[in-house]
Amino acid sequence: MSALLEVRNVSRHFGGLKAISECGFSVTEGHAHGIIGPNGAGKTTLFNLITGIYKPTSGEIVFAGDRLDGLRPSRIALKGIGRTFQNIRLFKQLTVLENVRIAYDSQLHYSPLEALLTLPRMGRNEAESIAKSSALLEAFGLGALSESLAGDLPYGLQRKLEIARAIALNPRLLLLDEPAAGLNSGETAALTEFLRWVRTEYKVTLLLIEHHMHLVMGLCDRITVLDFGQKIAEGTPEEIRGNKRVIEAYLGADEE
């Protein structure tokens, strides 16, 4: 098992604010890797750095042997990094099927002009795109809802659809930003099982930000803890559970 993603000494400053400072960790291929930390610790900023929305102020990010920092977000996505968002960002006025097809079609590499000039192939591409996307939705239990507008789905299913859309990119690494946000404990348990299934079924490495400790401890092979933009601990769930600095970061240190 080798490192699929390496974050090497990355910093990101916004003016005087050091959102991430000299942070480094690596994600092993096949693992579920958790990132935890109090609010404002820089977890989502880290995701934005990995996916290319922000550029690191310093440091480098390496994915499957290639540098990611400096690449455009669309290039990074096509290298095999899918992502979901803390506040669901589906295309609510497009259908469920279209949401998945957009991500699937991005891998077809044909330009729209080319598509116009080669109509027969476009027909074949379209049929394949619909078939593959429908199969994915079927596997996710969303098959019956393909033609509904994404915005009309209940909250829990929107979360699921967002994961399906990310999987349609055929990623090697899936970044999940608080997938259990807004779910009750029963739903969170179901989500944990579901993410296990996604990981095996689609052979994808998971990197997730989460506050629900049951989910994190139950699912993750390894956990990185951030506080004020810095890594304060890393280890297996057992190691993190007993780590004094982690407990302090969450509950506040006793002041003597």
């Binding site: 996916t51 290319g52 929305i53 455009r72 977000p73 669309s74 996505a77 096509l78 992502r83 968002f85 960002r89 295309f91 609510k92 006025q93 497009l94 279209e98 097809r101 957009i102 991500a103 079609d105 991005s106 891998q107 077809l108 330009s111 729209p112 002009l113 598509a115 116009l116 476009m122 591409n125 379209e126 795109s129 859309r165 990119l169």
Partner: protein, 291 residues
């Protein structure tokens, strides 16, 4: 009744041209939430490109149409690349002023090359048909047919192709689109290419219908098509088409039944009334209300 039917045909012809132009405004607004005020001048460039090509190469109508659309399309995409893209994150008003400036530059380049209005030669022999009391010319049929074919083609492109899905996705949430592996800038370039190409086609058709063309011809027609796009619901593709046909109909019918000087007065008054009752336009959607 025959008189009315005759005017209805004229209205469809006029509306088709407005609709083709209005589409360009609406498509660009959809992906960038900006108004490309140079669009009326791209329409004018379409007419001049047609004149230029037709005077050197006696090509068939359809070939000239394709060349004109490519020429204006690439000019539109170039405009986006050189002038609008650097201002992508600038205040909207800067982008709008830039667009106005680009329009004036294009207009004055054409004016310096062609200071006087030029006659446009017909591209094919126009014959008139009389059916009952109606008279229809092959030119009218050509304008209406070409416009409708282009609009159907666009509708197919937007509803059925991955480019179209990406374009619709950008108009809802441009920030998420690149994270799904879609190159945002390429989709925006192609949107300009297609929008400007349709505007150029409209310019060519307009030049055939009113065969004297001048550098300033895009100003008023451009404004009117912009109004049509807003009345239909800016950002909405079908709204732009609807707005174009409504404007064409109101104009033609006003001239047909009232003194012709009332044309713009009646047309714009009606459009203002529509906007009072439908502030987002007829088919436009109000932005999601956040509570």
């Amino acid at each position: 009744m025959d008189y009315f039917a005759q005017q209805a045909i004229n209205a469809i012809q006029q509306g088709s041209i407005y609709a083709l132009i209005a589409l360009g405004y609406s498509m660009v607004y959809g992906v960038l939430t900006m108004i490309n005020f140079a669009h009326g001048d791209l329409f004018m460039v379409g007419a001049f490109a047609c004149l230029l090509i037709a005077s050197f190469f006696p090509l068939p109508f359809i070939v000239i149409l394709i060349l004109v659309m490519l020429a204006t399309g690439f000019l539109g995409a170039l405009l986006e690349r050189l002038a609008y893209r650097p201002l992508r994150n600038a205040p909207r008003v800067s982008a709008i002023i830039t667009a106005l400036g680009c329009g004036l530059v294009i207009e004055n380049v054409v004016l310096s090359l062609s200071p006087y209005a030029k006659p446009m030669p017909p591209l094919f022999t126009v014959t008139g048909y009389h059916i009952g009391g109606l008279s229809v010319s092959t030119l009218q049929l050509m304008i209406i047919g070409v416009s409708i074919a282009l609009m159907l083609g666009l509708d197919f492109l937007i509803r059925r192709t991955s480019f179209g899905m990406a374009m619709r996705a950008i108009s809802f949430d441009a920030k998420t689109v690149p994270l799904l592996g879609i190159p945002l800038n390429r989709i925006i370039s192609v949107t300009f290419l297609i929008g400007a190409g349709l505007g150029g086609a409209a310019g060519m058709l307009y030049g055939q219908a009113y065969p004297v063309i001048a550098a300033s011809m895009g100003i008023l027609v451009g404004w009117k098509a912009f109004v049509a796009a807003v009345v239909g619901g800016i950002g909405s593709i079908r709204g732009a088409v609807l707005g174009g046909y409504i404007l064409g109909t109101v104009e033609v019918m006003t001239v047909a039944f009232l003194p012709s000087t009332y044309r713009d007065l009646v047309a714009y008054s009606l459009l203002l009334v529509i906007l009072i009752f439908k502030p987002y336009g007829l088919l436009g959607k109000a932005p999601n209300q956040k509570v």
